[in-house]
């Protein structure tokens, strides 16, 4: 186990400027009330957030509009693929739930034999410097999803805030070069392990969720949902996209664009056939994808418990609460059959 390295709070600015020579350093800034990841700039006041922030981390590796290739009409269809960026990059200040989201995205884009070359290049050139959470927001429930605010899973370098500075530890050979700075001194003390509350939004096993396909609960759950796309766009693991071809003044561009299974246009086909016409079928598809399909496909459920879907839902519908209500329905059904009483006809 490599040792923890200590950084004085005062040296933070110099340390980051030193990193900025060789890497593009991205850090979270507060921009009139809203958070955003932006390149490091000494002039801007920097303060690492102690818990999850409402910003799209997915945007850094899989932008909402990503050009793949450009082509111009005159030269009979010469297609030039977009060349990925090479400059190495550090993303600093990610929390455990963000990094878990990124490792899920890796499975989606890099698992099949058709790897996504652009995403792979982005991942190669990026060093993930994760930060352990110091507190849990009201909406956080990573402890119910097999994660913890102080788990360093999937990070290249982990750091945490202490009274007089920061503690860094490199967890991969990609992260090691970052800690060779003279501002860091090896030390023996370690961040203390805390006991985190859990049990807020518990969910049943993926197999149990799969049996809920024909259940009547989905109409109840989607009665006030307006199926907009906010919860999918803010979710770190919702990476459904559409491939769009665009043309302007004879020059064209092929792009991938974020899409959402909640929108009506998602599965509407030419000729009018639409497999997910009703809001209930769309809410069911997303809930099952999060808690069942992703596990059967990639071995990891695609909800990291960050709670962003709760923060952004305009109707305060709280998507994790749906998972809990379905789990309650599963538990009731199981109790019913175990009591060997004939289950009353559900509504």
């Amino acid at each position: 186990m490599n040792k923890w390295h200590e950084l004085k709070a005062a040296d933070l600015k110099n340390f980051l400027s030193q990193l900025a020579d060789k890497w593009q350093v991205w850090v979270p800034y507060r921009n009139d009330g809203k958070w955003e990841f932006a390149p490091y700039d000494e002039r801007r006041e920097l303060e690492f957030p102690g818990s999850v922030i409402h910003v799209s981390v997915k945007q850094l590796l899989f932008p909402k509009r990503r050009p793949l290739a450009t082509y111009d009409e005159e030269s009979t269809w010469s297609v030039k693929s977009v060349t990925p960026g090479e400059k190495p990059r550090i993303i600093m200040g990610l929390h455990p739930c963000d990094v878990a989201g990124i490792s899920y995205m890796d499975k989606v884009f890099l698992r099949t034999e058709h790897k996504d070359a652009l995403y792979e290049a982005e991942r190669k050139r990026t060093v993930l410097v994760g930060m352990l959470c110091t507190e849990m927001e009201k909406t956080c429930h990573c402890t119910d999803r097999g994660l913890a605010p102080d788990s360093a899973q999937g990070m290249d370098v982990v750091f945490t805030r202490t009274e007089d500075g920061y503690l860094f530890q490199s967890l991969s050979e990609k992260g090691a070069p970052l800690l060779e700075s003279e501002y860091l001194r090896a030390t023996d003390d370690k961040p203390d392990k805390k006991e985190w509350p859990h049990g807020k939004y518990e969910i049943a096993s993926p197999e149990e969720f799969m049996e809920m396909y024909d259940d009547g609960i989905w109409h109840e759950l989607s009665d006030i949902c307006l199926t907009c796309g906010i919860c999918t766009y803010e979710c770190p693991t919702c990476v459904c996209f559409l491939v769009a071809d665009e043309k302007f003044k004879g020059k064209g561009e092929r792009v991938t664009v974020w899409d959402s299974c909640q929108l009506q246009s998602y599965s509407r086909m030419a000729g009018g056939h639409d497999t997910r016409k009703t809001p209930a079928s769309r809410v069911r598809n997303r809930t099952l994808d999060k808690f069942a399909y992703s596990h059967l496909r990639y071995g990891q459920i695609s909800c990291t418990g960050c709670g962003r879907c709760v923060m952004v839902c305009p109707l305060k519908r709280s998507f994790p609460q749906l998972g809990t209500r379905v789990t309650e329905r599963i538990r009731n059904k199981k109790k019913m059959t175990r009591d060997a009483t004939a289950p009353a006809k559900e509504d």
């Binding site: 809203k34 909402k64 509009r65 009201k138 009665d223 006030i224 307006l226 199926t227 907009c228 796309g229 906010i230 999918t232 766009y233 803010e234 559409l242 769009a244 665009e246 792009v255 664009v257 974020w258 899409d259 959402s260 929108l263 009506q264 246009s265 509407r268 709760v310 952004v312 305009p314 109707l315 305060k316 519908r317 709280s318 609460q321």
Partner: protein, 281 residues
Amino acid sequence: MNEIRKKIRSLFDKGEIDVMLGFREDPSTGEVKAAVFKKDDDLNGFVYDDRCVQNLVNYLPTLTARYKRIGIMLKGCDGRSLVTQLVEHRINKNQIVALSAACDGVKVRGEEVEKCADCAVSVSPIADHVFGEPKEKKDPVYARVREIEKMTPAERWKFFSDYFAKCERCYACRQICPSCYCEICIADQQEPKWIEPSAKLSANTMWHLIRAYHLAGRCADCGECERVCPQDIPMRLLNNALEKAVHEMFKVRPGTVPDELPPLVVLSKDDPDTIMEGKDE
């Protein structure tokens, strides 16, 4: 609040409504959520206070398909959307029982929402049962709109293009709006493809322009589109600018007069030509 609950209970008992559309407080998060109350639900969970910001009129079409008679709790601005939906025959009145309480402003996270300062109508124009004294009507000032109008065109485009570039096209503004209910939205149409699906400045500009235009003379200024937008794009600004223009040109404030057709649906032979030549500014 209890007065409203008693009225709802009596409506249920007399069989005048099958379901009541209102708000319920979620004990675990302390947030107020839209909720559909059935006959035998416990009405103590029914909440109506300054946290009930959402415009419930958008649920009526799906509910009128499922139930025969629906009660709905309306603020003044919600009432204006109900007028628009009734006048456009999206739902019919005999399925609706409208309850409206004099609203003196709603709050989001504690501070009063900006639309309430300009509130044109505090009780729904269509209401079967009214609670409390409606406040006198104030003509809206459109303070923010006049500020923007003072800027030069280049400054205005810079102001709006910065916002339009941030749009992710999650269409929450379309899904929450009671007056935005096309079967296949123009943004999803392929033939002709007026608006490209990708979230870039030009396609976003097309989306926000056509969204605002399609609401001209139909928008109830309930401010939900601006509230739900994850990127805080000032959509109400566009709606208000058009509401101000429609009022100046056609002397109509959408949704405030029951059975009044939206201005762009009707025509009048004596509109002055100057309105389209832009000379009257």
